[in-house]
């Protein structure tokens, strides 16, 4: 036991003596949360609108006021021709054009329908569709009010859209589980594999192999510090998301932690597996990058919804642990569902942990070849 303590202590010394890596390890979750939370959002906020309003009557004024009243849209400029508004959109000065037809109120009163156009920049389709969605829901409610005033009836059937669990469509609700999956995988798998491969590269592994130390001992002592660090990071992420981003932990914190522990276990075993394949730190980094990071970013549902993917990618996604973890976190943390709703995810992760752990322990050789 004393021996194990000395081994673990040595691993901690390695980490703490390398100032850069400890900085990366501890700051990475903070930076990612801040980046995803404030910079890389799909949220609609202060979107600049160009308004083309040839009629300038009570109805159009009201709609425009309603649209720009909140924090979502702000009027940028009034334009008089389509050419002007397109130019603004092209130059990126505005993200949305709102154009009314001529004699808007008159038409609305007499024919019951008046034309109103919303034009958004489609180069970023995700952003464009959320802008359109926001704008049309505000305009629709304004229209409803106007037609109610005019016809004294709310005769038009308008769908009442409601987004459950994330009513304000905050993107942080989506990425917090994603960042958790990404960071835990990165620290456990990548850092563990690099730290083992480093010993191979510097030749200390040779010395350790020619000693009575049991390999499992060696491996476990490598995993412990990164296990501890990922717990620290998990805490950091949860704190930041609750207090900085206002994403609540609606479900059971206890089970959230348990599921995370299982996922950390899977990641650690993957790291160990990588370390027995790779013989240089660069190789370990590349393998972790290609085999772990890319799929986690692209196929876990963190950024792109899995259901939109081609069949083959959907199949591949099933084998990515982060996909199951992120799904479980979404259910537990955001939706606040009870444990029995994540039993599938939990058992898939447990099976994966068992497979990877067996594979990595088997592939660890107690000779050099």
């Amino acid at each position: 036991m004393r021996q194990f303590y000395i081994f673990v202590r040595k691993e901690f010394l390695h980490i703490f003596r390398d100032g850069r890596s400890i900085l990366i390890l501890l700051l990475m979750p903070v930076v990612q949360i801040i980046l995803f939370g404030f910079a890389l959002t799909n949220e609609v906020k202060n979107v600049k609108v160009a308004i083309m309003d040839p009629s300038r009557d009570a109805a159009t004024t009201m709609i425009t006021e309603r649209l720009t009243a909140g924090e979502y849209f702000s009027p940028y400029m009034m334009v008089s021709t389509e050419k002007d508004s397109d130019a603004l959109l092209k130059r990126g000065e505005v993200s949305l054009i709102l154009s009314y037809s001529e004699r808007f109120r008159e038409r609305l009163m007499h024919t019951g329908s008046a034309r109103l156009g919303l034009t958004a920049d489609g180069t970023d389709p995700n952003m464009a569709s959320s802008i359109i969605l926001y704008a049309s829901s505000i305009i629709r409610s304004a229209e409803l009010e106007i037609s109610g005033k005019i016809f004294n009836s709310g005769g038009v059937a308008i769908p009442n859209v409601r987004l459950l669990y994330n009513p304000q469509m905050k993107s942080s609700y989506n990425f917090v589980p994603g960042v958790m999956g990404l960071i835990l995988m990165l620290i456990c798998a990548m850092m563990t594999s690099i730290s083992i491969v480093r010993e191979k590269e510097t030749g200390t592994m040779e010395v350790l192999l020619v000693s009575p130390v049991r390999p499992i001992f060696l491996i476990l002592s490598k995993a412990v510090p990164y296990f501890v660090l990922s717990m620290v990071n998990l805490t950091t992420i949860l704190f930041l998301s609750v207090f900085l981003l206002g994403v609540p932990v609606t479900g059971s914190l206890f089970w959230l932690v348990i599921v995370s522990l299982v996922f950390i276990f899977v990641s650690l075993s993957m790291g160990l597996l990588i370390s027995s394949i790779a013989s240089t730190q660069v190789a370990a980094m590349l393998i972790s990058g290609l085999v772990l990071m890319m799929p986690v970013m692209l196929l876990s549902g963190m950024i792109y919804p899995i259901s939109n993917m081609p069949d083959i990618l959907q199949v591949i996604a099933q084998f990515i642990p982060a996909k199951w973890y992120i799904e479980a976190v979404r259910k537990l943390m955001i939706q606040g569902l009870p444990l029995n709703s994540v039993l599938t995810e939990l058992s898939v992760l447990l099976v994966m942990a068992a497979i990877y752990l067996t594979a990595s322990l088997r592939s660890f050789k107690d000779r050099l070849q």
Binding site: Q3, H14, R17, T204, V207, P212, R367
Partner: protein, 311 residues
Amino acid sequence: MKNSDISVEVKGVSKNYSSVKALEDISLSVKKGEMFGLIGPDGAGKSTLFRILTTLILPDSGTAAIEGLDVRQDYKSIRKIIGYMPGRFSLYGDLTVQENLSFFASVFGVKVSDNYSLIENIFKDIAPFGDRRASRLSGGMKQKLALSCALIHKPSVLFLDEPTTGVDPVSRREFWQMLERLKTDGITIVVSTSYMDEALLCDRVALIKEGRVLSSDSPRGVIDSYQNTLLAIWGEDMHSLLKDIRSYGEIKSIYSFGQEHHIAIDKNLYNINYIDSLAKKLEATGHRNFHIKVIAPTIEDCYMEFSANKN
């Protein structure tokens, strides 16, 4: 030689790396308490043999045993009784001298104080730098630390793979003195080196070339088995001397050796007048101001001779 006197026994060991033959039918034995040197240039297969003996890799064929324990079956027991210092610096550069030492002590389940008397002589020089990180030590001090770490569990057999490569001459001499002292503690030492002059410091040596043992004997025995008469020549135009003498049929071989050329000729061919006749021949070709004398062969000359014979 009784079986119980043998510490390391290698019989017919071969090892290939894909298509490259690293070791070919190597056999040698090391007696208990002996300092045994594996002498050969880089790429001769010394490190491969060390890795087989330290149970890090398996031989393709042949057997090897350390203190009667087989490297295949009993590798776990072997790992308890040997000390190994690989060719490159393989301590933790980011740990301090003290931390390295106590870590490796705990690897073998001992405390630094348990066998401190064994390493005291070596470690006392670096002890004042106990809080310094190992990466910031000088080359000689790194070697001392590595040796201390390899000895801390009082191994029966110590394997040192090129311990003096890249170390300055003063530290090299000091290092060999330390090994000499360790021998008195009864530790069997197997050491490899590419410095031929270091062979003389061993009890017995094996000359290795391209994975084969050329000769295995005491350094004296190796030199005594030299079959030629060796001449040294030095003079003004060393380059054309080499070229001209090489063209003489009766010469077995000539090669440059430091500031001189060494000429090997058959013992039976050599007589008291040989040097004079060689000198005349050279003067006839236009050579002036050169000196020739008979010299005693060194281990390196033996190595040259034996490897020429093998080919």
